[in-house]
């Protein structure tokens, strides 16, 4: 078993990211841009060759539309600098996980979803860890049912 992950993002304007930016700025968090992507982590066996993985994810019409989405392999196991990944605490209730696995085909045993937020400062550089943490606390994560995974350089802030 191994985990392969795909990042699906919009290649058309992302209204949700724009609204998040406007709200975070209104909350006093100095940002210049917000990017958003869905990270889908699939636990798969040997029946899923790595070079077929993205192609199989791209066939899942409920999460990928070639006309408006871009897809890429996620190499990292967690968020990088300037990022926070938001997922549900209780992953025993995956949103449509069973349906996604059915559409993915044989060789998959589980699927997890994260929303990856990439925050850029006004100079379009990745935001520092303290800003990312503040944005997660103020808006991006509801700790009642979600968890925020911060990059390694922000661990001391948790």
């Amino acid at each position: 078993m191994r985990t392969l992950a795909a990042e699906i993002s919009l290649k058309i304007p992302d209204n949700t990211a724009d609204t998040a930016l406007a709200t975070l700025v209104r909350l006093g968090i100095a940002l210049g841009a917000v990017r958003r992507a869905d990270v889908w982590q699939f636990t798969v066996d040997e029946r899923v060759p790595a070079d077929e993985f993205l192609e199989r994810v791209a066939r899942i019409e409920t999460i990928f539309n070639v006309n408006k989405h871009a897809i890429a392999l996620v190499e990292a196991e967690g968020p990088g600098t300037g990022e926070v990944w938001i997922g549900e605490i209780d992953e025993s209730i995956p949103a449509d996980g069973g349906e996604l696995m059915r559409q993915f085909g044989e060789g998959v045993t589980s699927v997890r979803h994260r929303t990856a937020w990439r925050l850029l400062d006004r100079g379009q550089q990745r935001a520092p860890a303290a800003v990312v943490r503040r944005a997660a606390q103020a808006l991006l994560c509801n700790p009642a049912f979600q968890k925020a995974t911060l990059p390694a350089d922000a661990k001391g802030l948790e």
Binding site: T19, D90, A95, L139, P143
Partner: protein
Amino acid sequence: MSARVGVVMFPGTNSEDETLRACLDAGLDAALVHWSAPPPVVRAYDGYVLSGGFSYEDRIRAGAIAAHHPLMDVVIEGAQAGKPVLGICNGAQILLETGLVPGTAPVRRPTAAFAPNAPGGHFVCRHVHVRLTIEPSRCRITASMARDTVLPAWAAHGEGRLVAQDADLETIRAGAHVAFVYSDEHGNPVAPPNGSAFGAAALTNVTGNVLAIMPHCERDAWTFQRRDGAERAAARGHAGKILAPSGGMALFRSFAKAF
């Protein structure tokens, strides 16, 4: 003199008209409040109803953006001063995102949420009943109802599952915050349509002046909205009967007496 109630609408709100009409029929001096209304205008109301819909397209999470809208600063200020506030469906989600409900932590530090339905995260649209589970006087908005009142309503949401950390769930239970649970028409418990903790359909806050209810009572407030074929059939052709109030109006009548 009737209390002045603002029926708040955000971009994406879709239930403001029937909510306004229910408030007016209950005897309130109600008016729609646009999200761009200046704070002094919003502040002048005696109470508020946050109506259902999909404010800001549910971007980030249901209710999350509206909860941080400047208009909500005025609603929060009013709620903390004791004004009655009723949130229905998306309005309820907004109230939990603000932390006004259950209100056991500082505002904008939510301790509970109406999260995606379980199992599967699917949207639910069905007629339901909800039973009052608290002492009516525990919440000002239910104070004029009889004990164990059963209300008909329509559940229409993709995010109605009450969730919280274990300690917060215990606080919600111990503090009698669960105002309504899903039931059958006789008040017997039924499985919630969304996996909600405690079978909860509505929560109130610590001080009992704010109520967040997921199902839409304003969609079963007049006979013409009833799914009950026999009742509707009997009323057909009789304007007085088809336009007569139905069970959901009880929520708004009780709300009107909260002032």
